[in-house]
Symmetry: C2
C-alpha cells in the first residue's frame, strides 16, 4: 500500500465534506477491503483514488437535494475532482455485468476499463454528449422549464446528441422537437462536464427564424422568451430570483452561457 | 405490417449495395421473424427500419476493407443513414444483457432504448465524444499515424473526451499525451458522427507552443509537422497520395479539417 496515496471520502456517491464545505480525503486504510478502487490521477504529486460504491445512482440527481447543496459549496477545483470521480465510480457500480454475455466484469487499468470475466469483452466508461443552447430572437432568449425544476427556475433547452448527427444538427432537432422553433446559424460557445451521471455539456448559440412556440409538454412544462432586462434583473436577484424567474445556478453551464449573452 | 415501411438491407453490419453503390432497401417481409427492428425515422414520408444482426462489431472497423470500400461509394445522404443505422444496430447487438444485473434485455421505444427484463434498468444507445485536432506551429500542421493505418496515411490526432473534462481540456491533454506538445487557443471548428462504433468527432484547432515532439509510441507510430506545400501536393495527388503522404479520406472529418486549414 502506498502510504502517500489519498482516498476520496464518499458516502455512496455523496462527497464527505469538511467544515469548510471542501472535499474530505483519507488514506487507502479507510477503504473497505472488498471495494474496487478507481485511480483519479496525481494531485500535488500524490496518487488519488476513489472507491466504487455498492450501488450506482438509482434515481435522477435532482431527487437528491444534498447533492445540489454540496455542488454549491465546493470550490471549482474540488467540483472538478468530485464530478470526474462521481462519473467514474457510478459507471463502475452500474456495470458489474457484461452487456454482451451477461457474465461478471472486473475493474482493470485503474478503473478506466472493465473486462468481462467470461467472454473477454472490454467495456469503457461512457460520457454522453449533450447539446445545450441559447436560442435568440429579437434580443430575447428562449428558456424552458422541465417539470422536475424548482418553481420559477428556467434554463437553456438541452438534449442528447443522437447517433448519426452532428452537434449543429442535434441543436436544430432538439429546439424543433421541444419548442417547435426552427433555428439557423448554430455556433459552439463552450463545454462543461456534468456528472449526473456522466455528460459532456456542449454549449451553443442559435438564431430562431421566428418566435412562435409549440411546446412538447412531455419534455418541457413551459418555455418562454425572456428579455435582456428580465434576465439581468433575475441574475442580480441572486439565488432567490425575482417573482418570475430564478437564474440558472452558477455551477451549471447555462449560467455561464446566459451570462456570456448578457455581457457580450 | 405497414406495407409502406422500408427495411435497410444489411448483411450483418455491412450495407447491401445496388449496382450504383447506393443503399439497398427491402420491405419488412425481408426481415427474419426473430430479428429485432430499429426505427430509423421517416424518409420521404415512409417509416424506415434496420434489423439488429446476430452479432455486433467484433473487431475494429479498419480490419474490414469492404466497409471502407462502401464508405467511398455511398452518397452523403446514404452515408448518414447507414452510419446512424449501423451505430444503433451494433449497439443493440452488443447490449442484449443488463450491465447492472446480468439479466436479459429487450428492445423498446423503436430501438432508442433497451429495458432489463429482470431489474427493469433502462439502457440507452451510447455515442462517445472524441476530439480530433489540427495542431498548428509556424504554418505547419501536426499529423500522426496510428500503427493500424495504411502505409503513408497520416491524420489529425484524436482521442476520447474523458469523464470530468471539457472539450478544450481533452484536446490539450491528448496532444500532450500523444505528442508531448503543449497547446493554447483551442477552438472548435466542426463535428461529424462516425459509426465505428458510435462516435461524435469534435473537430478543433489549436496552436502549439513549440514544435518539439515526444511521441507516445503505444498510441502513435509516427507524428510529423507537414508544410502547407506538402499537404497541398498530397491532396492534389488524390487517393494514391505522394511518396510520403496520403491525404485523409474524404469521408473522414480530418479531410475537411485539413482542407479548411489549407483553403482559409
Amino acid at each position: 500500500m502506498d502510504w502517500r496515496a489519498r482516498l476520496l471520502r464518499l458516502d455512496g456517491l455523496m462527497p464527505a465534506l469538511d467544515e469548510h464545505g471542501g472535499l474530505l480525503w483519507g488514506t487507502l486504510a479507510d477503504c473497505p477491503p472488498e471495494a474496487e478502487l478507481v485511480f483519479l490521477g496525481l494531485l500535488d504529486g500524490r496518487p488519488c483514488f476513489a472507491p466504487v460504491p455498492m450501488h450506482g445512482a438509482d434515481g435522477p440527481a435532482y431527487a437528491q437535494p444534498q447533492v445540489w447543496q454540496a455542488m454549491q459549496t465546493l470550490s471549482p477545483a474540488d467540483l472538478a475532482i468530485y464530478g470526474g470521480a462521481r462519473s467514474l465510480v457510478d459507471w463502475h457500480a452500474r456495470h458489474r455485468f457484461c452487456a454482451r454475455c451477461g457474465g461478471g466484469t472486473s475493474l482493470v487499468k485503474g478503473g478506466w476499463q472493465r473486462d468481462c470475466d467470461g467472454c473477454g469483452a472490454q467495456h469503457f466508461p461512457r460520457t454522453d454528449p449533450v447539446t445545450i443552447m441559447l436560442v435568440e430572437h429579437a434580443d430575447r432568449l428562449l428558456l424552458g422549464r422541465q417539470p422536475r425544476f424548482p418553481p420559477r427556475m428556467f434554463s437553456a433547452l438541452a438534449g442528447f446528441v443522437e447517433p448519426g448527427e452532428t452537434i449543429e444538427e442535434a441543436v436544430a432537432r432538439e429546439v424543433l422537437e421541444e419548442a417547435g422553433v426552427r433555428v439557423r446559424r448554430v455556433r459552439y460557445l463552450s463545454s462543461q462536464p456534468w456528472p449526473f451521471p456522466s455528460q459532456l455539456m456542449i454549449g451553443c448559440h442559435a438564431i430562431a427564424q421566428d418566435d412562435a412556440l409549440t411546446i412538447d409538454t412531455t419534455e418541457l412544462e413551459e418555455a418562454r422568451w425572456f428579455t435582456r432586462a428580465e434576465l439581468l434583473e433575475a441574475r442580480a436577484a441572486g439565488p432567490e430570483g425575482t417573482g418570475d424567474l430564478i437564474f440558472p445556478r452558477s455551477f451549471a453551464i447555462a449560467h455561464h452561457l446566459v451570462t456570456w449573452w448578457l455581457d457580450r
